[in-house]
């Protein structure tokens, strides 16, 4: 169906108002102003407002922010809680665990000088700065397709509004606009749906290891004031995941902010092998560990959410640029997983992209040739150096498990300064790691107690997720028969368990099973797009504004 679309032309279009996209937007405007040039910048964000789809830990390293806004304190950036104490636990069972003596903590896990923040609120603040600098930001509008003409990316098309479930136009149909640009920055975060297509189309990953992922689940709690220690950071490895084995890895966090607010979360590597594993239920039972429970008891849970993270690091990073555009932030894979920090690296990558683009535009470039200066600036930056030092962390963990891998990492970080003379690789993509259900042990998860642990539906309710109901399903199955014909017999359809929002259900009697997709619950974490063993689920952007409405995530 061809429709008439309005067109707007900009110098730079940015997809995604996360730390990467917004830092890029601010940087372009700052550099343009310094050079006396007029460069127009437009940012689209699929969330109903800036920050609505941002979910992070977050212990924030201010390095990139210091460079972008040296006066961020005076400008009122929401960095309020400095890290005061840093505890690391190895959990050996549901009851037991030991604290790692400070001596053995790898340098990458030291957090002096860092802040515990809500990344969503930092993005709201960055959005304000970007607007003050003259950028246009349009929340509630998702980039649906990249406009590619003669092999050059020319911008994006915003998703249509007012299309019904069958794909027909409703009376209030509003066709999405074309936003054309000389350069388009894709900063959609982990597993961006356009980034994924561009990486495939331009073969950007042909020299890279497969990307590796984790799913992070997070809750916000208001705790009993007597248990509250502002500035306390607790990281954990081991139970309920593996400490010595390698079949289910990950780590946990618990951060104390201000106003009796505590963030608690679990990150489960999507390289897990047991199809019966449910990251959501692992997280719920994790909170029952005495070390964690002591803080939560007597408190109330106020928010829930989930989001995938990219953990492949430098080894998995695709090429940065292609004709007409670049990737930045987690869309590119700039997360430093050894530190579990990706915000400052995302910001820095956006800033470097902005520098390369602004220079090119001022020199008169029209975007038609690939921007090689982005890669060279990246290589010369502290960002590259930081990611280089951490490149072995993920592969070593996957190979040796948290305890031994942790020891190797300690040696590398503290003795070799992150510069081991060799590099480990991990070549198995996460969708290939599941064992058949027949060879796997079922996991009996404890029933939620409604106080510390909860069921999925009441949790999703706390993400304030909302989608227009009458719209095409945004979780597209390439072959609709696979869930029941292949995934169910082989893996007991793991989507029922890895989706943290209960979107996928297998319903019906034996012999007459159906795969049901409750798309309106989707919290946009992207796990299904990553983990489906048949790579049959394609996440596309739903109608703009849909999805979670996270407040202080």
């Amino acid at each position: 169906m061809s429709v008439e679309r309005d067109v707007m032309e900009y110098d730079v279009v940015i997809v995604g108002a996360g730390p990467a996209g917004l830092s890029a937007a601010c940087r372009v405007k700052q550099l343009a102003a310094a050079a006396g040039a007029e460069i127009s910048v437009c940012v689209v964000e699929k969330g109903s407002e800036v920050g609505a789809h941002i979910l992070s830990g977050a212990v924030f390293e201010p390095r990139a922010l210091n460079e972008l806004f040296p006066d961020w304190k005076e400008k009122g950036a929401p960095l309020k809680t400095p890290v005061k104490r840093d505890d690391i636990y190895f959990f050996t069972s549901a009851e037991k665990g030991f604290k790692m003596p400070g001596l053995f903590v790898p340098k990458t896990m030291h957090n002096e000088g860092n802040y515990i923040i809500s990344l969503a609120n930092l993005c709201r603040w960055l959005g304000q700065q970007a607007e003050d600098l003259g950028c246009e930001i349009y929340p509630g509008f998702a980039a649906q397709t990249a406009i590619i003409e003669d092999g050059v990316v020319k911008g994006i098309t915003v998703g249509d509004m007012g299309v019904n479930r069958e794909g027909e136009h409703k009376p209030d149909f509003a066709p999405g606009m074309e936003l054309r640009a000389k350069y388009t920055i894709f900063a959609e975060g982990c597993r961006g749906h356009l980034g994924k297509q561009l990486i495939a189309q331009y073969g950007l990953d042909k020299n890279a290891d497969p990307q590796h992922y984790g799913i992070g689940l997070k809750e916000i709690w208001t705790v009993d004031p007597s248990k509250f220690e502002p500035g306390l950071v607790v990281h954990g490895a081991g139970w309920p995941l593996d400490l010595v084995g390698t079949s289910a890895l990950g780590g946990s966090f618990l951060y104390h902010l201000e106003d009796n607010t505590v963030y608690v979360g679990l990150i489960v590597d999507l390289s897990y092998s047991n199809p019966y594993l449910s990251p959501f239920d692992e997280f719920q039972r994790f909170k029952q560990h005495p070390v964690i429970r002591q803080y939560l008891e007597g408190g109330t849970r106020v928010a829930y959410g989930a989001r995938a993270i990219c953990k492949g690091g430098l080894n998995s990073m695709p090429e940065l640029a292609f004709p007409g555009g670049v990737l930045a932030g987690c869309d590119l894979g700039t997360m430093n997983f050894a530190k579990i920090k990706g915000s400052h690296t995302a910001m820095k990558s956006g800033m470097i992209a902005a520098e390369a683009i602004t220079e090119a535009l001022i020199a008169g470039a029209d975007g038609s040739v690939k921007l090689d200066s982005y890669a060279s600036k990246f290589k010369a930056s502290w960002l590259y150096d930081e990611l280089y030092r951490s490149r072995n962390f993920g592969p070593v963990m996957h190979k040796f498990g948290s305890l031994i891998g942790g020891a190797i990492n300690w040696i590398e970080q503290n003795i070799f300064g992150g510069k081991f003379p060799w590099t480990f690789h991990d070549l198995k993509p996460d969708y290939k790691t599941l064992k058949p259900a027949a060879e796997s042990q079922k996991i009996e998860y404890p029933k939620p107690d409604g106080k510390i642990s909860f069921d999925k539906l009441s949790s999703v309710f706390l993400s304030s997720t909302n989608h227009e109901e009458d719209q095409p399903v945004h979780l597209v199955l390439k072959d609709p028969s696979i869930p029941i014909s292949k995934n169910l017999p082989m893996y007991d359809e793991p989507a029922q368990r890895y989706c943290p929002a209960g979107v996928y259900e297998v319903v019906g009697e034996a012999g007459d099973k159906r795969f049901q997709i409750n798309a309106q619950n989707c919290v946009h974490c992207k796990t299904c797009d990553i983990k489906d063993p048949a790579q049959n689920i394609n996440w596309i952007a739903p109608e703009g504004g849909g999805g979670p409405n996270y407040a202080n995530m």
């Binding site: 407002e49 709201r124 246009e136 915003v158």
Partner: protein
Amino acid sequence: MKALVSVKRVVDYNVRIQVKSDGSGVVTDGVKHSMNPFDEIAMEEAVRLKEKGKITEIIAVTIGGAKGEETLRTALAFGADRAIHIKDDGEIQPLTAAKALAAAMKKEDAKVLLCGKQAIDDDANQTAQMVASLLDIAQATFASKVEIDGDKATVVREVDAGLETLEVDLPAVISADLRLNEPRYLKLPDIMKAKKKPIETVSLGDLGVTLAAGLKTTKTAPPPSRSKGVMVKTVDELVDALKAKGLL
């Protein structure tokens, strides 16, 4: 004929309201705000009336802090021609809002004020009525249908017993109920154009209004949590359970 539409910035209806731990109010920091849904309906109605040629100019008005500008931009994207931001960082209570709107009506010599029947944050359901009495003009609240013909408006209201049809002389205040219309999608080109439409900023003092605090919130508390339900298998069991509770 000019129409004024009042638009209030409130916590978005999708947000799960959280009461501050000291009971002094609800958490608004970092929480998504948007235009009061009933004001969107009023705005939509104004645009439809303009499309029908019944009014010639739509002026959106908000009273409140700097962030209110976002709400005015939304109104401008809906189709308001211009906007007035009555800026004040204090707590705007219904009487203050009503006085400010009354002053704006006079200043603009507008013939109709379209507003929501209530704002979903305080649910006060007072502003429309107070503006009408401050200006000593007619009011038609809870409108589910509005027609304007010359200097008269015909308004269908939803009342408990059914529908009531009123004819009011203009100028008048009309407050919108849920079923008056379904607001349109905001289109990106309209949002872009809205950035360029004029917003006039005035203070309460400019309009001769002082910030009054006639009401004091003494306590905010969340509703008591619901006790767990019981599953019943048959209608008989349901009837027995209701009887046991003395409800039948």
